[in-house]
Protein backbone atom coordinates (compact mmCIF):
# COMPACT_ATOMS: atom_id res chain seq x y z
CA UNK A 1 0.00 0.00 0.00
CA UNK A 2 2.72 2.40 -0.84
CA UNK A 3 2.35 5.52 -2.92
CA UNK A 4 2.82 3.72 -6.19
CA UNK A 5 -0.01 1.38 -5.42
CA UNK A 6 -2.19 4.38 -4.60
CA UNK A 7 -3.63 4.97 -8.03
CA UNK A 8 -2.45 1.79 -9.75
CA UNK A 9 -5.07 -0.09 -7.79
CA UNK A 10 -7.84 2.09 -9.20
CA UNK A 11 -6.53 1.67 -12.71
CA UNK A 12 -6.63 -2.10 -12.58
CA UNK A 13 -10.16 -1.92 -11.25
CA UNK A 14 -11.03 0.36 -14.14
CA UNK A 15 -9.59 -2.18 -16.58
CA UNK A 16 -11.82 -4.83 -14.97
CA UNK A 17 -14.87 -2.62 -15.19
CA UNK A 18 -14.24 -1.91 -18.82
CA UNK A 19 -13.71 -5.58 -19.61
CA UNK A 20 -17.17 -6.31 -18.25
CA UNK A 21 -18.65 -3.34 -20.04
CA UNK A 22 -17.08 -4.48 -23.30
CA UNK A 23 -18.64 -7.92 -22.95
CA UNK A 24 -22.06 -6.37 -22.41
CA UNK A 25 -22.04 -4.14 -25.44
CA UNK A 26 -20.11 -6.27 -27.90
CA UNK A 27 -21.69 -9.73 -27.60
CA UNK A 28 -24.79 -10.99 -29.34
CA UNK A 29 -25.41 -13.85 -26.97
CA UNK A 30 -27.81 -12.70 -24.30
CA UNK A 31 -26.38 -14.92 -21.58
CA UNK A 32 -22.91 -13.60 -22.31
CA UNK A 33 -24.30 -10.10 -21.95
CA UNK A 34 -25.61 -10.92 -18.51
CA UNK A 35 -22.27 -12.42 -17.54
CA UNK A 36 -20.61 -9.22 -18.70
CA UNK A 37 -23.06 -7.19 -16.69
CA UNK A 38 -22.13 -9.29 -13.66
CA UNK A 39 -18.44 -8.66 -14.13
CA UNK A 40 -19.06 -4.96 -14.72
CA UNK A 41 -21.04 -4.63 -11.52
CA UNK A 42 -18.68 -6.73 -9.42
CA UNK A 43 -15.83 -4.50 -10.55
CA UNK A 44 -17.72 -1.38 -9.54
CA UNK A 45 -18.09 -2.98 -6.13
CA UNK A 46 -14.33 -3.37 -6.02
CA UNK A 47 -14.00 0.35 -6.76
CA UNK A 48 -16.27 1.23 -3.87
CA UNK A 49 -14.52 -1.08 -1.47
CA UNK A 50 -11.17 0.46 -2.29
CA UNK A 51 -12.61 3.87 -1.40
CA UNK A 52 -13.29 2.58 2.08
CA UNK A 53 -9.83 1.24 2.82
CA UNK A 54 -7.79 3.18 5.34
CA UNK A 55 -4.06 2.67 5.66
CA UNK A 56 -3.35 0.86 8.90
CA UNK A 57 -7.04 0.32 9.53
CA UNK A 58 -8.76 -3.00 10.07
CA UNK A 59 -12.24 -4.23 9.42
CA UNK A 60 -14.89 -2.09 11.10
CA UNK A 61 -15.85 -4.56 13.80
CA UNK A 62 -15.02 -2.82 17.02
CA UNK A 63 -12.76 -4.82 19.30
CA UNK A 64 -10.65 -4.11 22.36
CA UNK A 65 -7.15 -3.00 21.53
CA UNK A 66 -7.80 -1.87 17.99
CA UNK A 67 -7.67 1.81 17.22
CA UNK A 68 -8.19 2.55 13.59
CA UNK A 69 -10.91 1.09 11.43
CA UNK A 70 -11.64 1.31 7.74
CA UNK A 71 -14.71 3.12 6.56
CA UNK A 72 -17.87 1.03 7.04
CA UNK A 73 -20.08 3.10 4.76
CA UNK A 74 -18.85 1.79 1.38
CA UNK A 75 -19.35 -1.75 2.70
CA UNK A 76 -22.93 -0.97 3.55
CA UNK A 77 -23.59 0.60 0.18
CA UNK A 78 -22.07 -2.32 -1.64
CA UNK A 79 -24.00 -4.88 0.36
CA UNK A 80 -27.10 -3.21 -0.98
CA UNK A 81 -25.65 -2.99 -4.47
CA UNK A 82 -24.77 -6.70 -4.49
CA UNK A 83 -28.34 -7.53 -3.67
CA UNK A 84 -29.53 -5.26 -6.43
CA UNK A 85 -27.06 -6.97 -8.74
CA UNK A 86 -28.29 -10.49 -8.04
CA UNK A 87 -31.87 -9.33 -8.35
CA UNK A 88 -31.15 -7.88 -11.77
CA UNK A 89 -29.28 -11.00 -12.83
CA UNK A 90 -32.09 -13.32 -11.88
CA UNK A 91 -34.71 -11.22 -13.66
CA UNK A 92 -32.48 -11.01 -16.74
CA UNK A 93 -31.99 -14.77 -16.78
CA UNK A 94 -35.69 -15.40 -16.36
CA UNK A 95 -36.29 -13.15 -19.34
CA UNK A 96 -33.70 -15.07 -21.33
CA UNK A 97 -35.44 -18.35 -20.58
CA UNK A 98 -38.69 -16.92 -21.86
CA UNK A 99 -37.01 -15.42 -24.91
CA UNK A 100 -35.50 -18.75 -25.78
CA UNK A 101 -38.92 -20.40 -25.49
CA UNK A 102 -40.51 -17.76 -27.67
CA UNK A 103 -37.84 -17.39 -30.34
CA UNK A 104 -35.83 -20.59 -30.13
CA UNK A 105 -32.54 -18.79 -29.84
CA UNK A 106 -30.62 -16.50 -27.52
CA UNK A 107 -28.50 -14.77 -30.13
CA UNK A 108 -29.51 -11.16 -30.54
CA UNK A 109 -28.91 -10.91 -34.29
CA UNK A 110 -31.07 -13.98 -34.95
CA UNK A 111 -33.82 -12.64 -32.72
CA UNK A 112 -33.79 -9.33 -34.55
CA UNK A 113 -34.06 -11.20 -37.82
CA UNK A 114 -37.03 -13.23 -36.57
CA UNK A 115 -38.74 -10.25 -34.98
CA UNK A 116 -38.23 -8.19 -38.12
CA UNK A 117 -40.39 -10.53 -40.16
CA UNK A 118 -43.43 -10.05 -37.96
Amino acid sequence: MNGLFGLFNYWVVIVLMMTGFYIVISRDNLIKKVIGLNIFQTSVFLLYISIGKLDGGTAPIVKEGLESYSNPLPSVLILTAIVVGVATTSVALALIVRIREAFGTVEEDEIIKIAGTE
Binding site: V24, L37, V44, T80, T88, V91, A92, A115
Partner: protein, 492 residues
Protein backbone atom coordinates in the same frame (compact mmCIF):
# COMPACT_ATOMS: atom_id res chain seq x y z
CA UNK B 1 -49.60 13.43 14.26
CA UNK B 2 -50.59 12.15 10.82
CA UNK B 3 -49.50 15.51 9.43
CA UNK B 4 -45.95 14.96 10.64
CA UNK B 5 -45.83 11.48 9.20
CA UNK B 6 -47.13 12.34 5.74
CA UNK B 7 -43.77 12.04 3.96
CA UNK B 8 -43.22 8.55 5.34
CA UNK B 9 -46.78 7.47 4.61
CA UNK B 10 -46.32 8.52 1.00
CA UNK B 11 -43.86 5.67 0.53
CA UNK B 12 -44.95 3.23 3.21
CA UNK B 13 -48.53 2.87 2.04
CA UNK B 14 -47.80 1.53 -1.46
CA UNK B 15 -44.71 -0.31 -0.23
CA UNK B 16 -46.60 -2.31 2.37
CA UNK B 17 -49.49 -2.82 0.00
CA UNK B 18 -47.34 -4.73 -2.51
CA UNK B 19 -46.52 -7.71 -0.25
CA UNK B 20 -50.07 -7.61 1.08
CA UNK B 21 -51.32 -8.12 -2.46
CA UNK B 22 -49.12 -11.19 -2.73
CA UNK B 23 -50.57 -12.51 0.51
CA UNK B 24 -54.18 -11.72 -0.43
CA UNK B 25 -53.82 -13.49 -3.75
CA UNK B 26 -57.49 -13.59 -4.76
CA UNK B 27 -58.35 -11.44 -7.75
CA UNK B 28 -61.24 -9.32 -6.53
CA UNK B 29 -59.87 -8.36 -3.11
CA UNK B 30 -56.45 -7.63 -4.59
CA UNK B 31 -57.84 -5.21 -7.14
CA UNK B 32 -60.12 -3.44 -4.69
CA UNK B 33 -57.34 -3.16 -2.17
CA UNK B 34 -54.81 -1.90 -4.71
CA UNK B 35 -57.24 0.73 -5.97
CA UNK B 36 -57.85 1.94 -2.45
CA UNK B 37 -54.11 2.12 -1.92
CA UNK B 38 -53.26 4.08 -5.05
CA UNK B 39 -56.00 6.62 -4.47
CA UNK B 40 -54.99 7.11 -0.87
CA UNK B 41 -51.40 7.53 -2.04
CA UNK B 42 -52.64 10.27 -4.30
CA UNK B 43 -54.57 11.84 -1.43
CA UNK B 44 -51.42 11.83 0.69
CA UNK B 45 -49.49 13.46 -2.14
CA UNK B 46 -52.11 16.17 -2.46
CA UNK B 47 -52.03 16.83 1.27
CA UNK B 48 -48.26 16.96 1.11
CA UNK B 49 -48.35 19.43 -1.76
CA UNK B 50 -50.74 21.67 0.15
CA UNK B 51 -48.61 21.52 3.24
CA UNK B 52 -45.41 22.31 1.33
CA UNK B 53 -46.96 25.20 -0.55
CA UNK B 54 -48.22 26.61 2.72
CA UNK B 55 -45.26 26.01 5.05
CA UNK B 56 -42.23 25.62 2.81
CA UNK B 57 -39.96 22.57 2.40
CA UNK B 58 -40.37 19.59 4.72
CA UNK B 59 -37.59 17.46 6.15
CA UNK B 60 -38.23 14.03 7.61
CA UNK B 61 -35.45 12.07 9.31
CA UNK B 62 -35.89 8.33 8.76
CA UNK B 63 -35.02 6.12 11.68
CA UNK B 64 -34.66 9.21 13.84
CA UNK B 65 -31.07 9.93 12.84
CA UNK B 66 -29.76 13.34 11.87
CA UNK B 67 -29.12 13.99 8.24
CA UNK B 68 -25.68 13.18 6.89
CA UNK B 69 -25.64 9.99 8.99
CA UNK B 70 -29.17 8.84 8.50
CA UNK B 71 -31.34 9.15 5.42
CA UNK B 72 -33.78 11.98 5.16
CA UNK B 73 -36.74 12.88 3.03
CA UNK B 74 -36.72 16.36 1.64
CA UNK B 75 -39.96 17.57 0.14
CA UNK B 76 -39.90 20.97 -1.51
CA UNK B 77 -42.37 22.41 -3.97
CA UNK B 78 -40.80 20.56 -6.91
CA UNK B 79 -40.73 17.19 -5.15
CA UNK B 80 -44.29 17.59 -3.93
CA UNK B 81 -45.44 18.55 -7.41
CA UNK B 82 -43.79 15.52 -9.00
CA UNK B 83 -45.06 13.22 -6.23
CA UNK B 84 -48.53 14.54 -6.88
CA UNK B 85 -48.63 13.78 -10.56
CA UNK B 86 -46.78 10.46 -10.33
CA UNK B 87 -49.25 9.16 -7.79
CA UNK B 88 -52.10 10.63 -9.82
CA UNK B 89 -50.93 8.70 -12.87
CA UNK B 90 -50.60 5.54 -10.80
CA UNK B 91 -54.13 5.95 -9.51
CA UNK B 92 -55.68 6.75 -12.87
CA UNK B 93 -53.94 4.01 -14.81
CA UNK B 94 -54.70 1.37 -12.20
CA UNK B 95 -58.35 2.39 -12.17
CA UNK B 96 -58.30 1.93 -15.92
CA UNK B 97 -56.51 -1.38 -15.66
CA UNK B 98 -58.97 -4.10 -14.53
CA UNK B 99 -60.75 -4.54 -17.85
CA UNK B 100 -57.65 -4.45 -19.99
CA UNK B 101 -55.66 -6.61 -17.56
CA UNK B 102 -58.08 -9.51 -17.66
CA UNK B 103 -57.53 -9.30 -21.38
CA UNK B 104 -53.74 -9.24 -21.16
CA UNK B 105 -52.51 -11.01 -17.99
CA UNK B 106 -52.94 -14.69 -17.04
CA UNK B 107 -55.48 -14.95 -14.27
CA UNK B 108 -53.45 -16.79 -11.66
CA UNK B 109 -50.71 -14.19 -11.79
CA UNK B 110 -52.79 -11.07 -11.54
CA UNK B 111 -51.92 -10.52 -7.89
CA UNK B 112 -48.22 -10.61 -8.77
CA UNK B 113 -48.78 -8.15 -11.57
CA UNK B 114 -50.57 -5.74 -9.26
CA UNK B 115 -47.77 -6.15 -6.71
CA UNK B 116 -45.20 -5.31 -9.37
CA UNK B 117 -47.22 -2.27 -10.36
CA UNK B 118 -47.34 -1.04 -6.79
CA UNK B 119 -43.62 -1.68 -6.37
CA UNK B 120 -42.93 0.35 -9.47
CA UNK B 121 -45.03 3.18 -8.08
CA UNK B 122 -43.21 2.92 -4.75
CA UNK B 123 -39.85 3.06 -6.48
CA UNK B 124 -40.75 6.14 -8.48
CA UNK B 125 -42.16 7.96 -5.47
CA UNK B 126 -39.15 6.91 -3.40
CA UNK B 127 -36.75 8.44 -5.91
CA UNK B 128 -38.59 11.71 -5.82
CA UNK B 129 -38.97 12.09 -2.09
CA UNK B 130 -35.54 11.15 -0.83
CA UNK B 131 -32.74 13.52 0.02
CA UNK B 132 -30.01 10.91 -0.15
CA UNK B 133 -28.07 10.19 -3.29
CA UNK B 134 -27.53 6.46 -2.73
CA UNK B 135 -31.14 6.00 -1.79
CA UNK B 136 -32.01 7.36 -5.21
CA UNK B 137 -30.08 4.44 -6.70
CA UNK B 138 -31.88 1.88 -4.55
CA UNK B 139 -35.34 3.11 -5.43
CA UNK B 140 -34.34 3.59 -9.03
CA UNK B 141 -33.63 -0.12 -9.11
CA UNK B 142 -36.92 -1.02 -7.45
CA UNK B 143 -38.82 0.91 -10.10
CA UNK B 144 -36.57 -0.35 -12.89
CA UNK B 145 -36.80 -4.04 -11.97
CA UNK B 146 -40.54 -3.93 -11.69
CA UNK B 147 -40.91 -1.99 -14.92
CA UNK B 148 -38.84 -4.58 -16.79
CA UNK B 149 -41.21 -7.31 -15.79
CA UNK B 150 -44.28 -5.15 -16.34
CA UNK B 151 -43.14 -4.53 -19.90
CA UNK B 152 -42.38 -8.21 -20.44
CA UNK B 153 -46.01 -9.01 -19.65
CA UNK B 154 -47.07 -7.73 -23.07
CA UNK B 155 -48.85 -10.27 -25.26
CA UNK B 156 -46.50 -9.94 -28.19
CA UNK B 157 -43.40 -12.10 -27.80
CA UNK B 158 -41.29 -9.11 -28.79
CA UNK B 159 -42.24 -7.64 -25.43
CA UNK B 160 -39.72 -10.06 -23.94
CA UNK B 161 -36.84 -8.85 -26.06
CA UNK B 162 -37.88 -5.25 -25.52
CA UNK B 163 -37.83 -5.81 -21.78
CA UNK B 164 -34.46 -7.51 -21.95
CA UNK B 165 -33.01 -4.75 -24.05
CA UNK B 166 -34.33 -2.21 -21.58
CA UNK B 167 -32.90 -4.26 -18.73
CA UNK B 168 -29.41 -4.27 -20.19
CA UNK B 169 -29.41 -0.58 -21.01
CA UNK B 170 -31.13 0.32 -17.78
CA UNK B 171 -28.58 -1.62 -15.76
CA UNK B 172 -25.72 0.03 -17.60
CA UNK B 173 -27.35 3.36 -16.83
CA UNK B 174 -27.81 2.43 -13.18
CA UNK B 175 -24.21 1.24 -12.93
CA UNK B 176 -23.00 4.53 -14.42
CA UNK B 177 -25.07 6.35 -11.83
CA UNK B 178 -23.53 4.14 -9.17
CA UNK B 179 -20.03 5.02 -10.40
CA UNK B 180 -20.93 8.71 -10.36
CA UNK B 181 -22.27 8.48 -6.81
CA UNK B 182 -19.12 6.63 -5.75
CA UNK B 183 -16.84 9.30 -7.17
CA UNK B 184 -18.86 12.05 -5.51
CA UNK B 185 -18.77 10.21 -2.22
CA UNK B 186 -15.05 9.85 -2.57
CA UNK B 187 -14.58 13.57 -2.94
CA UNK B 188 -17.08 14.82 -0.40
CA UNK B 189 -17.48 12.02 2.11
CA UNK B 190 -21.22 12.35 2.23
CA UNK B 191 -24.27 11.00 0.43
CA UNK B 192 -26.84 13.49 1.65
CA UNK B 193 -27.69 15.90 -1.13
CA UNK B 194 -28.01 18.98 1.02
CA UNK B 195 -24.79 18.20 2.85
CA UNK B 196 -23.06 17.45 -0.42
CA UNK B 197 -24.17 20.78 -1.82
CA UNK B 198 -22.21 22.60 0.86
CA UNK B 199 -19.18 20.35 0.76
CA UNK B 200 -18.84 20.10 -2.99
CA UNK B 201 -17.90 23.76 -3.45
CA UNK B 202 -14.40 23.06 -2.20
CA UNK B 203 -13.74 20.38 -4.82
CA UNK B 204 -15.95 21.72 -7.58
CA UNK B 205 -13.37 22.07 -10.32
CA UNK B 206 -11.54 18.79 -9.78
CA UNK B 207 -11.36 16.23 -12.52
CA UNK B 208 -12.97 13.60 -10.32
CA UNK B 209 -16.09 15.66 -9.73
CA UNK B 210 -16.26 16.51 -13.40
CA UNK B 211 -16.12 12.84 -14.32
CA UNK B 212 -18.70 12.03 -11.63
CA UNK B 213 -20.97 14.61 -13.18
CA UNK B 214 -20.42 13.02 -16.58
CA UNK B 215 -21.21 9.50 -15.40
CA UNK B 216 -24.32 10.57 -13.52
CA UNK B 217 -25.54 12.51 -16.53
CA UNK B 218 -24.98 9.71 -19.00
CA UNK B 219 -26.67 7.25 -16.65
CA UNK B 220 -29.65 9.53 -16.27
CA UNK B 221 -29.79 10.26 -19.98
CA UNK B 222 -30.12 6.54 -20.62
CA UNK B 223 -32.86 6.27 -18.02
CA UNK B 224 -34.77 9.25 -19.37
CA UNK B 225 -34.23 8.11 -22.99
CA UNK B 226 -32.67 11.30 -24.25
CA UNK B 227 -31.67 11.08 -27.90
CA UNK B 228 -29.37 9.29 -28.90
CA UNK B 229 -29.60 7.02 -25.82
CA UNK B 230 -33.31 6.40 -26.35
CA UNK B 231 -33.00 3.09 -28.23
CA UNK B 232 -34.75 1.04 -25.56
CA UNK B 233 -37.85 3.14 -25.39
CA UNK B 234 -39.79 2.65 -28.65
CA UNK B 235 -39.89 -1.15 -28.40
CA UNK B 236 -40.59 -1.13 -24.70
CA UNK B 237 -43.54 1.21 -25.09
CA UNK B 238 -44.95 -0.50 -28.17
CA UNK B 239 -45.06 -4.03 -26.83
CA UNK B 240 -45.88 -3.49 -23.15
CA UNK B 241 -49.48 -3.94 -21.96
CA UNK B 242 -51.44 -0.72 -22.55
CA UNK B 243 -51.83 0.11 -18.88
CA UNK B 244 -48.14 -0.27 -18.31
CA UNK B 245 -47.24 1.86 -21.31
CA UNK B 246 -49.53 4.62 -20.14
CA UNK B 247 -48.15 4.50 -16.62
CA UNK B 248 -44.48 4.33 -17.56
CA UNK B 249 -44.73 6.88 -20.36
CA UNK B 250 -46.34 9.28 -17.95
CA UNK B 251 -43.97 8.76 -15.04
CA UNK B 252 -40.74 6.79 -15.42
CA UNK B 253 -38.77 9.05 -17.74
CA UNK B 254 -40.15 12.11 -15.97
CA UNK B 255 -38.74 10.94 -12.68
CA UNK B 256 -35.30 10.63 -14.27
CA UNK B 257 -35.64 14.20 -15.52
CA UNK B 258 -36.55 15.16 -11.98
CA UNK B 259 -33.39 13.52 -10.62
CA UNK B 260 -31.39 15.43 -13.19
CA UNK B 261 -32.97 18.70 -12.06
CA UNK B 262 -32.36 17.84 -8.44
CA UNK B 263 -28.77 16.92 -9.05
CA UNK B 264 -27.86 19.84 -11.30
CA UNK B 265 -29.54 22.56 -9.32
CA UNK B 266 -29.75 21.35 -5.74
CA UNK B 267 -26.40 19.64 -5.47
CA UNK B 268 -24.05 21.38 -7.84
CA UNK B 269 -25.71 24.83 -7.67
CA UNK B 270 -25.77 25.96 -11.22
CA UNK B 271 -27.04 29.47 -10.71
CA UNK B 272 -28.24 32.30 -12.88
CA UNK B 273 -24.84 33.82 -13.41
CA UNK B 274 -23.49 30.43 -14.44
CA UNK B 275 -26.38 30.19 -16.84
CA UNK B 276 -25.87 29.79 -20.53
CA UNK B 277 -22.54 28.03 -20.70
CA UNK B 278 -20.80 25.79 -23.20
CA UNK B 279 -22.20 22.73 -21.53
CA UNK B 280 -25.63 24.31 -21.81
CA UNK B 281 -25.08 24.89 -25.52
CA UNK B 282 -24.10 21.26 -25.97
CA UNK B 283 -27.22 19.92 -24.27
CA UNK B 284 -29.34 22.40 -26.20
CA UNK B 285 -27.92 21.01 -29.41
CA UNK B 286 -28.55 17.43 -28.30
CA UNK B 287 -32.08 18.07 -27.20
CA UNK B 288 -32.94 19.92 -30.40
CA UNK B 289 -31.46 17.09 -32.44
CA UNK B 290 -33.53 14.69 -30.35
CA UNK B 291 -36.71 16.65 -30.91
CA UNK B 292 -36.26 16.76 -34.66
CA UNK B 293 -34.98 13.27 -35.28
CA UNK B 294 -37.52 11.58 -33.02
CA UNK B 295 -40.43 13.62 -34.38
CA UNK B 296 -39.39 12.86 -37.93
CA UNK B 297 -39.11 9.15 -37.17
CA UNK B 298 -42.52 9.30 -35.51
CA UNK B 299 -44.05 10.59 -38.74
CA UNK B 300 -43.02 7.45 -40.59
CA UNK B 301 -44.40 4.95 -38.07
CA UNK B 302 -47.37 2.84 -39.00
CA UNK B 303 -47.89 1.51 -35.50
CA UNK B 304 -49.53 4.31 -33.57
CA UNK B 305 -48.22 3.14 -30.21
CA UNK B 306 -44.71 3.27 -31.60
CA UNK B 307 -45.41 6.68 -33.09
CA UNK B 308 -46.35 7.95 -29.65
CA UNK B 309 -43.22 6.33 -28.19
CA UNK B 310 -41.01 8.29 -30.57
CA UNK B 311 -43.00 11.36 -29.76
CA UNK B 312 -42.11 10.72 -26.10
CA UNK B 313 -38.43 10.78 -27.00
CA UNK B 314 -38.99 14.14 -28.64
CA UNK B 315 -40.84 15.46 -25.60
CA UNK B 316 -37.92 14.50 -23.35
CA UNK B 317 -35.91 16.75 -25.66
CA UNK B 318 -38.18 19.68 -24.78
CA UNK B 319 -37.69 19.07 -21.08
CA UNK B 320 -33.92 18.85 -21.31
CA UNK B 321 -33.99 21.95 -23.49
CA UNK B 322 -35.77 23.80 -20.72
CA UNK B 323 -33.23 22.58 -18.18
CA UNK B 324 -30.28 23.62 -20.32
CA UNK B 325 -31.48 27.22 -20.41
CA UNK B 326 -30.81 27.21 -16.65
CA UNK B 327 -33.13 30.15 -16.12
CA UNK B 328 -36.29 30.43 -14.07
CA UNK B 329 -38.45 30.52 -17.17
CA UNK B 330 -36.62 27.60 -18.74
CA UNK B 331 -36.98 25.50 -15.62
CA UNK B 332 -40.60 26.45 -15.29
CA UNK B 333 -41.09 25.25 -18.84
CA UNK B 334 -39.34 21.95 -18.09
CA UNK B 335 -41.25 21.35 -14.87
CA UNK B 336 -44.64 22.28 -16.21
CA UNK B 337 -43.97 20.12 -19.26
CA UNK B 338 -43.21 17.17 -16.98
CA UNK B 339 -46.74 17.50 -15.69
CA UNK B 340 -48.49 18.43 -18.92
CA UNK B 341 -46.79 15.72 -20.90
CA UNK B 342 -47.68 13.16 -18.26
CA UNK B 343 -51.33 14.16 -18.60
CA UNK B 344 -51.48 14.13 -22.37
CA UNK B 345 -49.27 11.12 -23.04
CA UNK B 346 -51.04 9.21 -20.30
CA UNK B 347 -54.36 10.09 -21.91
CA UNK B 348 -53.16 9.19 -25.39
CA UNK B 349 -51.81 5.81 -24.35
CA UNK B 350 -54.96 5.03 -22.40
CA UNK B 351 -56.94 5.78 -25.53
CA UNK B 352 -54.62 3.43 -27.41
CA UNK B 353 -55.49 0.78 -24.84
CA UNK B 354 -59.19 1.29 -25.61
CA UNK B 355 -58.49 0.86 -29.32
CA UNK B 356 -56.42 -2.24 -28.68
CA UNK B 357 -59.18 -3.78 -26.58
CA UNK B 358 -62.01 -3.12 -29.01
CA UNK B 359 -60.28 -3.37 -32.39
CA UNK B 360 -57.45 -5.70 -31.50
CA UNK B 361 -54.66 -3.76 -33.19
CA UNK B 362 -53.23 -0.28 -33.21
CA UNK B 363 -51.64 -0.04 -36.61
CA UNK B 364 -52.80 2.83 -38.78
CA UNK B 365 -54.79 0.53 -41.03
CA UNK B 366 -56.59 -1.00 -38.05
CA UNK B 367 -57.78 2.46 -37.13
CA UNK B 368 -59.50 3.20 -40.42
CA UNK B 369 -62.80 4.87 -39.80
CA UNK B 370 -62.50 4.45 -36.08
CA UNK B 371 -63.87 7.97 -35.62
CA UNK B 372 -67.29 6.62 -36.43
CA UNK B 373 -66.93 3.30 -34.61
CA UNK B 374 -65.57 4.66 -31.33
CA UNK B 375 -66.36 8.39 -31.34
CA UNK B 376 -65.62 9.04 -27.68
CA UNK B 377 -62.25 7.35 -27.61
CA UNK B 378 -61.20 8.88 -30.88
CA UNK B 379 -62.22 12.33 -29.79
CA UNK B 380 -60.21 11.91 -26.60
CA UNK B 381 -57.25 10.86 -28.68
CA UNK B 382 -57.59 13.91 -30.91
CA UNK B 383 -57.73 16.29 -27.95
CA UNK B 384 -54.60 14.68 -26.54
CA UNK B 385 -52.98 15.01 -29.94
CA UNK B 386 -53.83 18.69 -30.11
CA UNK B 387 -52.22 19.17 -26.74
CA UNK B 388 -49.16 17.34 -28.00
CA UNK B 389 -48.89 19.77 -30.89
CA UNK B 390 -49.35 22.73 -28.60
CA UNK B 391 -52.56 24.30 -29.88
CA UNK B 392 -53.58 27.29 -27.72
CA UNK B 393 -56.06 26.34 -25.03
CA UNK B 394 -54.33 23.03 -24.31
CA UNK B 395 -51.71 22.21 -21.71
CA UNK B 396 -49.09 21.59 -24.38
CA UNK B 397 -49.40 25.22 -25.42
CA UNK B 398 -48.42 26.42 -21.97
CA UNK B 399 -45.23 24.35 -21.97
CA UNK B 400 -44.17 25.60 -25.35
CA UNK B 401 -45.05 29.16 -24.46
CA UNK B 402 -42.71 29.09 -21.49
CA UNK B 403 -40.04 27.37 -23.51
CA UNK B 404 -40.11 29.99 -26.24
CA UNK B 405 -40.14 32.79 -23.70
CA UNK B 406 -37.08 31.25 -22.05
CA UNK B 407 -35.31 31.08 -25.41
CA UNK B 408 -36.16 34.69 -26.17
CA UNK B 409 -34.98 35.79 -22.72
CA UNK B 410 -31.57 34.43 -23.59
CA UNK B 411 -31.72 36.01 -27.03
CA UNK B 412 -31.40 32.72 -28.87
CA UNK B 413 -34.28 33.32 -31.26
CA UNK B 414 -33.16 30.53 -33.66
CA UNK B 415 -33.90 28.08 -30.87
CA UNK B 416 -37.33 29.64 -30.43
CA UNK B 417 -37.98 29.32 -34.14
CA UNK B 418 -36.89 25.70 -34.10
CA UNK B 419 -39.29 24.96 -31.27
CA UNK B 420 -42.13 26.38 -33.32
CA UNK B 421 -41.00 24.44 -36.34
CA UNK B 422 -40.89 21.20 -34.37
CA UNK B 423 -44.56 21.65 -33.48
CA UNK B 424 -45.30 21.37 -37.17
CA UNK B 425 -43.74 17.91 -37.17
CA UNK B 426 -46.03 16.93 -34.31
CA UNK B 427 -48.92 18.29 -36.33
CA UNK B 428 -47.98 15.98 -39.19
CA UNK B 429 -47.97 12.76 -37.19
CA UNK B 430 -51.09 13.61 -35.26
CA UNK B 431 -52.81 14.51 -38.52
CA UNK B 432 -51.93 11.13 -40.02
CA UNK B 433 -53.99 9.43 -37.35
CA UNK B 434 -56.82 11.94 -37.56
CA UNK B 435 -56.98 11.48 -41.30
CA UNK B 436 -57.18 7.73 -41.03
CA UNK B 437 -59.68 7.82 -38.20
CA UNK B 438 -62.15 10.29 -39.67
CA UNK B 439 -61.70 10.33 -43.42
CA UNK B 440 -61.38 6.68 -44.26
CA UNK B 441 -64.39 4.41 -44.27
CA UNK B 442 -64.47 1.74 -41.58
CA UNK B 443 -64.09 -1.82 -42.80
CA UNK B 444 -67.27 -3.55 -43.95
CA UNK B 445 -69.56 -5.08 -41.43
CA UNK B 446 -68.28 -3.64 -38.17
CA UNK B 447 -70.68 -2.03 -35.78
CA UNK B 448 -70.27 0.98 -33.62
CA UNK B 449 -68.84 -0.25 -30.37
CA UNK B 450 -67.37 1.96 -27.69
CA UNK B 451 -64.76 0.97 -25.09
CA UNK B 452 -66.20 0.17 -21.65
CA UNK B 453 -66.89 3.10 -19.31
CA UNK B 454 -64.34 1.89 -16.78
CA UNK B 455 -61.69 2.63 -19.37
CA UNK B 456 -63.22 5.70 -21.00
CA UNK B 457 -63.59 7.65 -17.77
CA UNK B 458 -59.89 7.53 -16.81
CA UNK B 459 -58.93 8.37 -20.38
CA UNK B 460 -61.21 11.35 -20.44
CA UNK B 461 -60.10 12.42 -17.00
CA UNK B 462 -56.52 12.79 -18.22
CA UNK B 463 -57.40 14.37 -21.54
CA UNK B 464 -59.86 16.69 -19.83
CA UNK B 465 -57.22 17.65 -17.29
CA UNK B 466 -54.84 18.53 -20.09
CA UNK B 467 -57.43 20.95 -21.41
CA UNK B 468 -58.22 22.32 -17.95
CA UNK B 469 -54.56 22.99 -17.27
CA UNK B 470 -54.31 24.69 -20.62
CA UNK B 471 -56.68 27.34 -19.32
CA UNK B 472 -56.21 27.31 -15.56
CA UNK B 473 -52.46 27.70 -15.43
CA UNK B 474 -51.95 28.75 -11.82
CA UNK B 475 -52.47 25.13 -10.74
CA UNK B 476 -49.62 23.84 -12.89
CA UNK B 477 -47.41 26.65 -14.19
CA UNK B 478 -47.81 28.63 -10.97
CA UNK B 479 -46.51 25.77 -8.85
CA UNK B 480 -43.84 25.00 -11.43
CA UNK B 481 -42.61 28.59 -11.36
CA UNK B 482 -42.34 28.47 -7.58
CA UNK B 483 -40.43 25.22 -7.75
CA UNK B 484 -38.13 26.69 -10.38
CA UNK B 485 -37.41 29.76 -8.29
CA UNK B 486 -36.57 27.54 -5.37
CA UNK B 487 -34.23 25.43 -7.45
CA UNK B 488 -32.40 28.41 -8.90
CA UNK B 489 -32.23 29.82 -5.42
CA UNK B 490 -33.93 33.17 -5.76
CA UNK B 491 -37.03 32.33 -3.77
CA UNK B 492 -36.89 32.58 0.01
Amino acid sequence: MIRDQLPALQIVVPLVAAPLCVVLRRRAPVLTFALAVVWSTFAIALALLRQVLADGPLVYALGGWAAPWGIEYRVDALAAFVLMFVSLMGAVTLSYAPRSLTHEIPKDRLHLFVAAFLLCLTGLLGIVITGDLFNVFVFLEISALSSYVLIAMGRDRRALTAAFHYLVLGTIGATFILIGIGLLYMMTGTLNMADMATRITAVMGTRTVLAAFGFLSVGLFIKMALFPLHVWLPNAYSYAPSTVTAFLAATATKVSVYVMLRFVFSVTHVRMDFGYSDLGALTIAFSLAGIFVASTVAIFQNDVKRMLAYSSVAQIGYMVLGISFASVTGLTAAIVHLFNHALMKGGLFLAMGCFALVIGGVRLKDLEGVGRRMPWTTFAWVLGGLSLIGIPGTAGFISKLYLIRAALELDVWPVAALILLSSLLALVYVWRVVEVAYFRPPPEGVERREAPWSMLIPTWALVGASIVFGVWTSGSAGVAARAAELLIGIAP
